[in-house]
Symmetry: C2
Subunit: 121 residues, 2 copies
Amino acid sequence: MSKSEIAELPLLDAEDAVPCCPPITAGELSQADAEKMAAMFKALSDPVRLRLFSRIASFAGGEACVCDISDIGVSQPTVSHHLKKLREAGLLTSERRGTWVYYQVAPSVVAGMAAMLDLRT
Amino acid sequence: MSKSEIAELPLLDAEDAVPCCPPITAGELSQADAEKMAAMFKALSDPVRLRLFSRIASFAGGEACVCDISDIGVSQPTVSHHLKKLREAGLLTSERRGTWVYYQVAPSVVAGMAAMLDLRT
C-alpha cells in the first residue's frame, strides 16, 4: 500500500465503530464487557503512550513509521514497550515494510471507545 | 435540586465538552495535556470502576445515590475507594443530601474525553 493510498483511507463515523461494548449509559455492563473496555482505557492511561498514540494519529492516514516517532524524548526500548501495549489493546496495528515497522491507528476501535463515552445515546 | 429537575438536565453536545485537551489527531500533545488526559483514561481503566461509572451514568440525569449502586458485588470500602478515584479524576461529582451521598456524572468531562477520541476532527 503506497503512502498516497493510505492518506486517502476514509475516516470512520461513529456508526462504523467496532461493536465491542455498549455505551456506558446502556445499563449495567457485563463483567466481560467491562474487562474489554477497561483494557482499552488502560492502554491510554499513560502520558508517554498517549503522546506516542497522538503522534501516530496526527500523521496522514493515522499511520507513521517508527522512525517518525522515535524523537519523543524516551529511549527506544521504552517506545517499543509502549507501542506493543497499544497494539495488544487493539488501538494500533503494525506492518513491516522493508527496514521499518509502520504503525497505524485502528480507527474503528478508537471510534468504538468514543461511542461508549457518548452520553447522548 | 429535586429528582425531577435532575432528570431534565440537558445532555451536552460534543461542542459543550470541557476544553481540557486537543483531539488526539491535532498534533503532538504537550506533556501537561498528556498527563491530564492519561489521568482521565486511568480512572476508567479498572473493570469494577467502569461498572460503577456505567451504573451511575445509566440512572436518570446521570445521578445515583450510593445506596442504588452498592449491590455491584464488591465490598462497601471498595465501592467507596473507586467512587473517590472517579471523583478525583473529575468524572463524577458528589453531594450529600440527608443520609445519603449522591454521585453525578460530569457530562462535559465525559464529552471532552469522547471529543479527544474523535478521529473526524
